[in-house]
């Protein structure tokens, strides 16, 4: 028999009956043609074979069942080879006239089918071919009863396959494993080259394949930019549309660059199915085919479906993992927390107690407590409170109380308890949650603080000075009895107000600045201000305050004591007035004496040098008084006195060098030293070192701390001057120095007339330091 498979022109043959696939018409018997025509339209998987080597044709249902294309004109040996042992013999027998039934193995996932093979008889009743009909056994919801069920069967088989896939993916809890399992099932199912699941990053622009399945070719694992697939694919995927390409080489939507990329991966045809989440590309499932392939709608739909399921499985596994870690966290919290966390039923019976709670309650065996009525474990006098809190919680509200109760081992503890409802599915409280916090230490601290505050107040109220305390924000927390009497405001009026409330408005800004700065630095402060008396007048007070610190060092506020110093202040003001008057009088008196002298001298035609010497002495005395005036007649610094005394004679810089530490002289001593220095300088200017250029004076002093007291040692040394002979007659100046000064100071004064110049040494006791 001629081979029907080989006539390429057969499909174009004019005599060929319409509607038959190419390569089928050929030289076959009319009976064969009729059977083929019938099979072509049948929804049941059928294969018809004829001729010596049983070349044949399988219908679409047959191809779908085998999940592969069956080229018309393929010999039986090629079609049936892998489907079961001895099948070819059975089919051969059928074609010879003996009908046969056999089992066909469609593959591990497709199960089996029943093959019914019978001869096709020609008009003469002789066998001229074979008709094979397959009935799948393991797919769908049972054996398919008749041929009209085929589409439903196909749908059922897809459903079953997907359900099976769902089971497999659902059992995995790792995203990579899920991706791998999905690819490994879908790839062989579609008979493709490569299949993989790519996850997108947060932008949806970078796709990462961690695992894929291939039919032995290179993997596509790695990161891929969505744009690299070309604008058409990228846009489709972003929109959530699957991109199916039957042949990359002929598809105008695939650009030259992308075509090269396809070639590199060995891909001619492919489908990419996107999964969107929140309108952003979340993942893509792709299948690659090495040869051109037309993708049916059903296939594309399946790929989309698998993509969605794979993504859903990953999300479910993530949620499950998060849930597990939440559970672990909850367990840890219950374990670690020192709060006693209990679950009660609505009757108030104990059903659960946290591990940490058992620890603080000193429970060794919770089973002994389980089921007990919770209020019963509280002392009798606390019970009403506990039951009231339970009643609140049962009504859907929060119950709260603080009570003392002993732990199981009898340790007394103070508890802060919150009872709250746990709402069930019906929206009503189903169980109660009771959390007890041990506040014994806090309570003790509060109590001891209250006690010490009480002691402090008792003491402060009997103190003779005004006392106030403030909190950390500067608000008054207490004023003692004397303060209340003085200001005429009651404690209740003072509480919570600014501690500066009763201060004279003029003194407030300054005082507030001091108090605020001290509070910020947690430092003591002392300041004076006018405080309002009860009668509205103001009294000068001195306020001395320091921070109050808790045992743990926390800043609580300040405590201040206020002393009425208006008497002292008045005395000071009076003294200041007197000193001013004294200054005025002294200076005016000196001016009057000077005026008298000058006018006497003017009338008496006295030698001008006498008048000048007198005036200079008077002015020197006045200058010394200036220093004392500035210091309110309390004394003067020796360096100030010395500088003023020699200033009129200094002439130029460095002619009189002063050197010595700060020494405080009482007024009497200051005046005596000033006058003596004036005489020495006058003398030097007339006869000594200051009478010629180049002459110099060193004026220096030290203080010696001796066992019998402090002594001032002052020296006046003239250098580079002319030799000064001792005066023949002791004048006023030398008498003032040697007798007057020595007597005034109660010390020794020595003047030597050396060839190098005059030298004067003073050695005198100083009053004790604090007497100054």
């Amino acid at each position: 028999m001629p081979s029907p498979a080989v006539s390429p022109a057969a499909g174009l043959h004019g005599s060929e009956p319409q509607g038959l696939p190419p390569g089928v018409a050929g030289d076959g018997d009319p009976a064969i043609r009729a059977v083929v025509r019938a099979a072509l339209a049948a929804p049941v998987p059928m294969w018809v074979g004829w001729g010596a080597d049983l070349t044949g044709f399988g219908n679409a249902a047959f191809e779908a069942l085998l999940a592969r294309q069956v080229r018309p004109g393929s010999p039986a040996s090629e079609v049936w080879r892998d489907l079961g042992e001895g099948l070819l013999t059975q089919i051969g027998a059928a074609s010879a006239g003996e009908g046969r039934i056999a089992t066909v193995h469609l593959g591990p996932r497709r199960g089996r089918a029943i093959l019914s093979a019978g001869p096709v008889l020609d008009e003469a009743g002789r066998p001229c071919g074979v008709l094979c009909t397959l009935v799948p056994q393991d797919l769908g919801n049972g054996p398919v009863q008749n041929a009209t069920d085929a589409p439903r069967r196909e749908m059922l088989s897809r459903k079953a396959w997907l359900a099976d896939l769902g089971d497999v993916l659902g059992a995995l809890d790792d995203s990579d494993a899920i991706a791998e399992a999905a690819a490994a099932r879908l790839g062989p199912h579609l008979g493709v080259l490569r299949c993989g699941f790519a996850r997108a990053d947060a932008t949806g622009e970078v796709l990462t394949v961690t695992r894929d399945w291939t039919a032995g070719v290179a993997s596509a694992v790695g990161a891929h930019r969505l744009d690299a697939f070309g604008p058409w694919i990228a846009t489709s995927l972003r929109r959530g549309e699957a991109a199916a390409v039957a042949d990359a080489n002929g598809d105008p939507r695939i650009g030259p660059r992308e075509r090269a990329a396809h070639a590199e991966l060995g891909v001619r045809a492919h489908v990419a199915a996107p999964v969107l989440r929140a309108r952003t590309l979340a993942a893509v499932l792709f299948v690659h085919s090495a040869s051109p392939r037309v993708w049916s709608e059903a296939e594309v739909e399946l790929i989309r479906d698998v993509a969605e399921r794979t993504c859903a499985a990953m999300e479910a596994s993530r949620a499950l993992r998060a849930l597990r870690s939440n559970e672990a966290l909850t367990r840890d919290i219950l374990e670690i927390s020192d709060d006693c966390i209990k679950l009660l039923d609505l009757d108030g019976r104990l059903r659960f107690m946290s591990t940490g709670g058992q620890r603080v309650m000193q429970v060794d065996d919770f089973s002994l407590l389980e089921g007990r009525y919770w209020p019963d474990i509280w002392p009798d006098d606390a019970k009403p409170q506990v039951e009231a809190a339970l009643a609140h919680a049962r009504e859907g509200r929060l119950g709260r109380f603080r009570e003392e109760a002993r732990t199981v081992r009898g340790t007394p503890r103070f508890w802060d308890v919150v009872v709250s409802p746990i709402v069930g599915d019906d929206g009503r409280p189903a169980r109660l949650l009771a959390i007890s916090r041990d506040i014994t230490a806090q309570r003790q601290a509060e109590e001891s603080l209250r006690e010490s505050e009480g002691r402090f107040r008792a003491m402060a109220d009997s103190a003779p000075v005004m006392i106030w305390t403030s909190d950390a924000d500067g608000r008054c927390t207490y004023v003692n009895r004397i303060w209340q009497e003085f200001t005429g405001s009651h404690l209740s009026q003072a509480m919570d107000r600014n501690v500066l409330m009763a201060i004279h408005p003029d003194d407030r800004p300054r005082t507030e600045a001091i108090v605020t700065a001290a509070r910020a630095a947690r430092r003591p402060f002392q300041t004076e201000y006018r405080l309002a008396r009860a009668d509205g007048s103001y009294a000068w007070v001195i306020d001395t305050a320091s921070p109050r610190l808790a045992p743990d060092g926390a800043y609580l506020g300040d405590v201040g004591s206020v002393l009425d110093i208006s008497e002292r202040r008045r005395a000071e003001e009076k003294q200041a007035l007197l000193v001013n008057e004294l200054n005025h009088r002294v200076k005016n008196t000196l001016a009057v004496v000077q005026s008298l002298a000058i006018q006497s001298f003017r009338l008496g035609q006295v030698d001008p040098t006498v008048r000048n010497a007198f005036e200079a002495r008077l002015l020197s005395l006045a200058r010394a008084h200036d220093v004392l005036t500035q210091e309110s007649w309390e004394g003067a610094q020796l360096c100030d006195i010395a500088r003023r005394a020699v200033q009129p004679f200094a002439g130029g810089p460095d002619r009189i060098a002063l050197e010595g530490r700060g020494v405080w002289l009482p007024p009497q001593m200051a005046l005596a030293v000033a006058m003596a220095l004036h005489e020495l300088a006058t003398n030097a200017a007339k006869y000594g070192a200051l009478s010629i250029s180049g002459g110099q004076v060193d004026l220096s002093w030290t203080v010696a701390d001796l066992p019998q007291g402090r002594r001032l040692r002052l020296s006046w040394v003239e250098r580079n001057g002319p030799p000064v002979p001792p005066p023949a007659r002791r004048g006023f100046g030398s008498r003032l120095i040697q007798q007057g000064l020595a007597a005034e100071l109660g010390g020794e004064v020595v003047i030597d007339y050396l060839s190098t110049g005059v030298m004067c040494r003073v050695d005198a006791p100083l009053p004790t330091e604090d007497a100054g």
Binding site: A591, Q594, T629
Partner: protein, 129 residues
């Protein structure tokens, strides 16, 4: 009566009318003598604030020398009146610069007690202003 002293400072006082406000009689006399010697005409001396204000209203005055404190009465009103009239003046005080009334810091100052030449210098400075 001519006396020795910095003659250069004394030259320009001829014909100048200087108001002297000073409550210490002896001091006032001395000031009067010195200024007269220098060729000036002394208005006053006034020992009270009211008298000084009176004189300012009645006499023409080129310059003034004011004691800050007249037996407890501050001469600030006189200083203000002088300033209002645009008449230059100096303070005389035993207190130093710290004793000058507020608002008049920088005014020429004669420190008491003073020497003749100090008075001449301060008044020359005032009249030059």
């Amino acid at each position: 009566m001519t006396e020795e002293g910095p003659a250069g400072a004394n030259g320009g006082f001829a014909g100048k009318r200087i108001l002297v406000v000073e409550d210490e009689m002896i001091v006032a006399m001395l000031i009067e003598d010195i200024l007269t010697d220098m060729g000036a005409t002394v208005i006053g001396p006034a020992a009270r604030v009211s008298r000084a204000i009176e004189l300012l209203g009645a006499e023409s005055v080129d310059a003034a020398l004011l004691d800050v404190n007249l037996a407890g009465e501050m001469t600030t009103p006189v200083a203000e009146e002088l300033r209002r009239r645009g008449i230059p003046f100096a303070f005389a005080t035993g207190y130093g610069a710290a004793g000058v009334p507020a608002g008049f810091a920088g005014q020429p100052l004669l420190q008491k007690p003073f020497q003749e030449r100090d008075l001449g210098q301060v008044m020359a400075q005032v009249l030059a202003a």
